[in-house]
Symmetry: C2
Subunit: 412 residues, 2 copies
C-alpha cells in the first residue's frame, strides 16, 4: 500500500463545488488502495479577505495575532474537505497544525518547521482514515500558532511526506506542470516530464510560480519526489526528483525571465580596496538583496563603474540610499534603470557541456538583443537585457536549444 500526500492550493478548493471535486479525487486515490494525506490551503481569496480585515484594525498588525487570524483560512478548508470526503462515504479526519504536531520556530509569518510529531496521523491512516491536514500552519514550543509564509502549504505537504516517508507528494495546482518556458509567451512551450530539484529551484527563484523555493529545498533535502499537476485534469504533470543521467544529457531544460529587477549604476567610483564592500554592506544593512553585479574600469584612470540589480520593490529606497552614498564616496553620477529584464537558461546538462553560453549569446545577438549584464551559476546563465526584448529573447533561446523537442523524455 502506497502512502500518497496530495496538496491542493487555494484555487483548487475555492468553492464548495471545487472542494467536492477534490474530495472525489481523494476518494478515488484512497479506493485505489492507497493511504492518503491531503494538505489544503485557504480557499482562494480568503487570505486576502483576512488581510484586509486586519489592515482596517492596524497598519502594522501584531505578528502573533496575524498568524492566529490567517490560520483560520486553512481551518475552514480542512473542515469542509473532510465533510465532503465523509459525504462521499470514506472515514476522514481533519488536523490543524497543533493537532498534527507540526512544530516550528517562533518567527510569526515565516516560521520554519523544526519537527513533526506524526503519531496521531499515522494511527488514523492505519485505521483506514483519510487525513486532511491544514497547510501553512504550525505551533511553536509555547503552543502559539505560527504560519509558514507564502507557499507554506507546499512546505507542509513536503514536510509531512518526508516525515511519513510518503511514496510521492502530489502538488495540485491550476497549471498542468512545469513548462520549458511561460506558455503565455511562447506557444511552443512544452510540459517537462521530469526535472531535477536544482533546476526546479532555479526555475522557482526566477519567477516560475509553480512551486515555492522552500518546499523544493525541503523536498531535495529529504529526497521527496514531487508531482506537480493540475487539479482540473487527470493528465500527469511534472515530476521533480533527484537528478539522473538522462537529465544530464540535456543542455538546457528551461528558459525563464524576470521583469522584477531594476539596475543601478554608480559611475566613476574611486577604484580603491574596500569601496565595493562599503557599497554592498550599506545595501544589505537596509535589508535589500542584490542579484547581479558588474564592475568595469572607467575610461579615466583610478575609477570604475559599478552596476548591480535589486528587486524592483526595493528600487526607490535603494536608489535614494546609493545617491547619498555616492556623494560621500565622491563618486560620479548614479543612474537607475527600471526597464530591464533578466532572461535565464537553466539545465543540469550545462555542467558537463561547453559552448552553452556562447550558443545563448549567439541566439540573442541573432535577434539584435544587447546584453547589459551576465551572471552564471553551475546550472544557469542569466543575461540582463532591455525589458522590451524579453519575449523576443525568450522565444529565441527556446528555439536555439530546441526546447520544443523532448530529448530528455525520449532517452528515458
Amino acid at each position: 500500500m502506497a502512502l500518497i500526500v496530495q496538496k491542493y492550493g487555494g484555487t483548487s478548493v475555492g468553492t464548495p463545488e471545487r472542494i467536492q471535486k477534490v474530495a472525489d479525487r481523494v476518494i478515488r486515490t484512497k479506493r485505489a488502495g492507497n493511504q492518503v494525506i491531503v494538505v489544503v490551503s485557504a480557499m482562494a481569496g480568503k487570505t486576502d479577505e483576512l488581510l484586509r480585515l486586519a489592515s482596517e484594525i492596524s497598519s502594522s498588525p501584531d505578528p502573533r495575532e496575524m498568524d492566529v487570524l490567517l490560520a483560520t483560512g486553512e481551518q475552514v478548508s480542512i473542515a469542509l474537505l473532510s465533510m465532503a470526503i465523509r459525504e462521499g462515504g470514506l472515514p476522514s479526519v481533519s488536523y490543524l497544525g497543533n493537532q498534527a504536531g507540526i512544530l516550528t520556530d517562533s518567527k510569526y509569518g515565516r516560521a520554519r518547521i523544526r519537527d513533526i510529531r506524526a503519531e496521531a496521523m499515522k494511527q488514523d491512516l492505519d485505521d483506514g482514515k483519510v487525513v486532511v491536514l491544514a497547510g501553512f500552519q504550525g505551533i511553536d514550543g509555547a503552543n502559539n500558532i505560527t504560519t509558514l509564509g507564502r507557499g507554506g502549504s507546499d512546505t507542509t505537504a513536503v514536510a509531512i511526506a518526508a516525515a511519513l516517508h510518503a511514496d510521492v507528494c502530489e502538488i495540485y495546482t491550476d497549471v498542468e506542470g512545469v513548462f520549458t518556458t511561460d506558455p503565455n509567451i511562447y506557444h511552443k512551450a512544452r510540459k517537462i516530464k521530469r526535472i531535477s530539484y536544482d533546476e526546479m529551484l532555479e526555475m522557482s527563484s526566477m519567477g516560475a510560480k509553480v512551486l515555492q523555493i522552500r518546499s523544493v529545498e525541503f523536498a531535495k533535502k529529504y529526497n521527496v519526489s514531487l508531482h506537480v499537476r493540475s487539479s482540473f485534469s487527470d493528465l500527469p504533470g511534472t515530476i521533480v526528483c533527484q537528478e539522473d543521467e538522462a537529465m544530464e544529457n540535456v543542455l538546457v531544460s528551461g528558459v525563464t525571465y524576470n521583469k522584477n529587477e531594476a539596475k543601478i549604476t554608480i559611475k566613476k567610483i574611486p577604484d580603491r580596496p574596500g569601496i565595493a564592500a562599503r557599497v554592498f554592506s550599506e545595501i544589505s544593512k537596509n535589508g535589500i538583496v542584490v542579484d547581479m553585479i558588474i564592475q568595469t574600469p572607467s575610461s579615466k584612470g583610478g575609477h570604475a563603474n559599478l552596476a548591480f540589480t535589486v528587486p524592483i520593490t526595493d528600487y526607490p529606497k535603494a536608489l535614494k540610499m546609493i545617491q547619498k552614498l555616492a556623494k560621500e564616496l565622491e563618486a560620479g553620477e548614479v543612474v537607475g534603470n527600471e526597464d530591464v529584464a533578466k532572461v535565464s537558461i537553466i539545465g543540469v546538462g550545462m555542467r558537463s557541456h561547453t559552448s552553452v553560453a556562447s550558443r545563448m549569446f549567439v541566439a540573442l545577438a541573432g535577434e539584435g538583443v544587447n546584453i547589459i549584464m551576465i551572471s552564471t551559476s553551475e546550472i544557469k546563465i542569466s543575461c540582463l537585457i532591455d525589458a522590451k526584448y524579453t519575449e523576443l529573447a525568450v522565444r529565441a533561446l527556446h528555439d536555439a536549444f530546441e526546447l520544443d523537442k523532448s530529448p530528455r523524455e525520449e532517452s528515458l
Copy 2:
C-alpha cells in the same frame, strides 16, 4: 486590583469599527487599574456564513468537522480584537480554547465544560496583559475542537470568571439589560437593576434572549455576579446575582411571553393507568420536550382529554406521531392548535406571598382573555392563551403588578 471578565457578542464585534470600540472600552477598563479578560463571539453573520458553506457540502455535516469549522469564527474575532488593543497601546494576547485549557466532553456542537486549566492566562494577566479569549470553544481529552452550542460564549465567560474568581462578569450585548417585559411590546417596560439567578433562568427559558440558560446556571452554581449591559452605551445594565431580601419584597419582577409553542389535544383517551405514560414516553423517545400538560375528564365516562404543548418546530412531527398513537390507543380525535401563546409572570417574591395567581387571572379576565392552560413553579405562573391576545395580556399583567414602578430598587 479587580479582575473583570467582559464578554462581547457577535453584534458588538460585527465590524472593524465596532471591534475598535470594544478595544477602547477594554483599554479604559484596564487603565482604570483592573485585570481584564475579554471573551468574544464570532463577528455577527460569520457563523451563518460558515453554516451555509457546510450546507453546500453536506446536508448532515460531520459534527466533529462542523466544530472545527465554526471555531474559526471566534478565532478571527480574538485576533482582530487583540490587534486593536495592541494598536491602542496595551499588551494583549489572544487565547484559543485549546490554549486556554478549556476542557470539555466530546459532545460536538453542545459540549460541556469539564475543567479550565487557566495557569497560562493567569500568568499573562499578572504580567499586565489583556487576555482575549475565544468564546464558544474548547477541546476534549483527545485535543479535538469542540463547541458549546448557541450562547456558548456566555458560558465561556462565566466559566472563566468562576475559574479565576473574577470580581464581575460583564456581558455586553445589543440591549441595555434585562427589562420587566419586552420594550417592543410595552413602552412602560423598565430596566431591572438587580435580578436573582432563578428569576433570570425563568426569564431565559421563557424566551428573553439576553442570556443563555446554561451560562446563568453556571453563574448560579459558582456564584458569579453577571452584569448584563449594552456595548453601545456606558449606562449600567442589569446585575444578575444571588437572591437577597430586597428581591423577596417584590411579588413579580417580570412578564414574559413565548409564541413558540403549539398545543395538541387527544380527545376521549381511555382513562386507564399507564396511558399518559405511554403517550409521553413515545414523545420523549422522539426527542421532543413537552412543556405544559393538562388532563381533564371527558364528559363520557372512562375517558379523558389530554392536552399538552410542544415547541413549534417539533409540532408537525409530534402531531403526526400522536395521530398514529391515538389510533392505536383507540382514542378520539387529535386536535392541534398553533395559535397559542404562553404569558408568564416571574418573581421570587411569589414564594412568600399569596394571591399572586388570582391577581394574574383577574387581570387577564379583565381584558377578556381566556386561559387555556395553566402551569406554575415556585417563582413563575404561566398561562396559555389565544396568541392574538399576547400583547394585550402582557401589558395587562405589567400594569396589574405595577412593574413600571421600581419598588425593588427603592428598597435597596
